[in-house]
Subunit: 467 residues, 2 copies
């Protein structure tokens, strides 16, 4: 049953934690694809039209590229502009190539400024110009103003429509004005109170405005000292403020404090997803988002550089083994046990690293508690080292019938897990202090260290003790 | 400069993307700690009082345990209940041990029901009972009702206060009622329109209610078929709905469709952070959140089980080497090159895995496009395999002056990177289908496969070709 076709489907879906129902059911994707490929574009359009714009975007992403064009033709002007603005970057650019500039312009004119900016921001200069020229003047000017701000800044994210009133107005005046004015944002959750120089000095949430009688002055019911977003603030910082202070919307101001626009929480939810996705991808050695929708060869291009770095560090680690070539030659058991020490160090270090990277992102790990965190990781690393030294030392002693060999791997295990804990916290802290995103490069530094220390400690101790 | 002391500090902070300013500056943490440890609790309290509750929570978390108790004593009843509800689970439990049940009860009575439930949910049964009994009756009944729902469900997350009106009311009646009623939620963004059986059949966003004249009927301006949240829905599913459909609030309904409460977006932002954090931690082999605040030995207890699994798989991988003991004995170069093949496979597979796990979480990878994604990973893995086979084959041929050895490592590299790509997508897909969270266990399966295939392909080919 295609879940998303009934707007009431939420209520019937009693789901468990692990089986989350996608809004776009695979069967629906297949039905649409079959209709498109079977020459029944109208049937496909009928299946798609009842969906929410966000679900239509997901459906377009799930189709193969050829079917995407067919669906766009089938829908024509019935395609909601919001669905285009909800597409992943790569799919968006592919889809825009199929649409005439005049049609893109009419979609952009219907969208909020921030969504319109997302829609056309990566078009080539001449195409972007063609779209802008085909737009009505008011919309074009707003869009050009938005595009003048850097990507990922408050200026790009904000809506230029907002509700602002002077301090001396009453609730009654605000209500009358809201009823009579056409030029209002589509959605708003608070009224900004501004001084004569148009600087926000307070806000009145709508629920409070509605609960007060007409003669009450906004000055008496406003929250003072509102949290303001400078227009050049980065979106990661904006997301932090919304999350930390439970904001629903916030005023965006120029460097001299004048009100320029507002950011609402629905845009910030998207930003949070985007920033966290970036962190996850970086820790996995993938350049950035959109990987799922890139063609295979473009994906190779984005991933191979990271693997090259890994190759260099893996070779460096192997050179550690080369130093002990003679030692290995004498005892093949060493070659068998060696990767175990390195692997354990890599995994223990990654545990510490994961916690540290995340705590740096949520600003829970700072200079104030870094020393304590380091001390703790020394204990954790050392203790786990002793646990696994006992397990592995015993196993190796019995399997190879060689207590000395067991002692060697036990000692190497302690050293490597202890170093892994220290490196797992010092590397992200150091990168963060140097202004480098630890999510991006900490992993490769860490595994290099745990490989080298693992091989060196194990083979070095072996040489010292065994021969 | 302690940023957070001035409520206007946002506006002065022109930050770049990489240097995000924490609301709680390390210097402030140090000043507070110095005041507490120097016997000047009043000075510490003065530093803390001007802060936002969320920042106070961060500050408490950043202090060492002893200083936390001192600060709680210094603040006394001046501590905002919201700060307690904002604490990390582990710190919350530690802090609650210092507070009398009567004081916890008065904090819980001031909080929204969902925050009060979070505050006391992990107290021991008799302590929880003592707190509940010390609460005013109305608050206690609501809190008991909330605690009766499972953790992480809509019932636990929802607020029991909401605004609901019948279809035949006018905007004027709604406004008059809002002005005269005391029993309203602290914050609300929409008015639910209910049928005679108290089932929500529409919603009127506040901004729309404010923009319409008094005689207009809510029936004429409401959004029909609202997105409803069943009371047993899991919070991960709720977060998906808010994100996908840009919701600001949503009605929570019983199994027979009656309105029970509402969930607002600020709570959902916390859920999104929590769920994503869980994914990141799981991929890093850390059991769950709060790791940063656990004492070292409790951390060992939580991390060592994962390392044990890794030990078993690392040993299994090493047994692959043991099969070829004779081969290694003959050529020490093999022992040197062997970890490179395994390491490259592990990293390439992790790239694929990262994308797949994230795409499963955002529901962008489904049965509809799984086949295409697999095919793509075959191409990506094979292509990267050929690239690195060329690099490493050449390097090994030259370094060891042995073309056959270069050929062996080149072939092994192609096989392992190809298998890594396939495993990187099939493992998370298989786990997801089996109802297991792929973020949790996919990594360990993957590296086991890439280690075994890496060792086996390299040593097996060596045995075949070299000897």
């Amino acid at each position: 049953m295609p879940e998303a076709q009934s707007p009431d489907s939420d209520i019937t879906a009693a789901e468990s934690a692990t089986t989350v129902t996608p809004a776009i059911h695979p069967n629906l994707v297949r039905e649409v694809a079959d209709a498109l490929e079977g020459g029944r574009p109208d049937a496909a359009a009928e299946l798609v039209k009842p969906l929410h714009a966000a679900d239509i975007a997901d459906l377009i992403e799930a189709l193969r590229p050829d079917d995407r064009s067919l669906l766009l033709d089938a829908l024509g002007p019935a395609l909601e502009p919001e669905a285009l603005a909800d597409l992943d970057e790569h799919v968006r650019d592919e889809v825009l190539e199929e649409i005439e500039p005049a049609e893109i312009a009419s979609a952009a004119a219907e969208l909020d400024t921030d969504d319109a900016a997302y829609l056309i921001e990566d078009l080539e200069a001449h195409e972007r110009q063609a779209v802008l020229e085909a737009m009505p003047q008011a919309g074009r000017e707003r869009l050009e103003a938005a595009l003048a701000y850097p990507e990922d800044s408050a200026g790009r994210l904000m809506q230029r429509d907002y509700v602002a009133v002077p301090t001396f107005w009453t609730v009654g005046q605000v209500i009358d004005w809201l009823r009579d004015t056409d030029e209002l944002p589509d959605e708003f959750y608070e009224i900004f109170v501004v001084d004569p120089r148009h600087r926000p000095i307070g806000t009145v949430p709508l629920y409070r405005a509605m609960r007060n009688k007409r003669p009450v002055s906004v000055n008496d019911i406003m929250d003072r000292a509102p949290r303001l977003i400078p227009v050049d603030m980065d979106q990661e910082e904006i997301a932090y403020h919304f999350d930390q202070y439970n904001l629903t919307s916030a005023a965006v101001v120029s460097t001299d404090g004048r009100l320029l626009g507002q950011i609402t929480v629905d845009d910030v939810v998207d930003v949070i997803q985007e920033e966290v996705e970036e962190d996850i991808y970086r820790m996995g050695g993938v350049a950035s988002e959109g990987d799922l929708y890139l063609p295979a060869l473009a994906t190779v291009q984005r991933r191979w550089a990271w693997l090259l770095v890994n190759l260099v560090t893996a070779v460096l680690a192997s050179l550690t083994i080369a130093i002990f070539a003679e030692t290995i030659d004498q005892l093949v058991a060493l070659a068998i046990l060696m990767p175990i020490v390195a692997s354990m160090g890599g995994n223990a270090g990654t545990q510490t690293l994961t916690v540290a990277v995340r705590a740096l992102a949520t600003r829970e790990l700072t200079a104030a508690n870094a020393g304590r965190a380091l001390w703790k990781e020394c204990i954790v690393g050392g203790t786990n080292g002793i646990i696994f030294a006992a397990i592995m030392g015993l196993a190796a002693s019995l399997y190879f019938d060689n207590t000395v060999l067991g002692t060697v791997i036990a000692l190497a295990m302690i050293v490597n897990l202890w170093v892994a804990g220290i490196a797992g916290i010092l590397i992200p802290l150091g990168l963060h202090r140097a202004g480098v995103d630890p999510a991006l490069s900490a992993g490769i530094f860490l595994t290099t260290i745990t490989d080298v220390v693992g091989f060196f400690a194990f083979l070095g101790l072996a040489k010292l003790i065994l021969f």
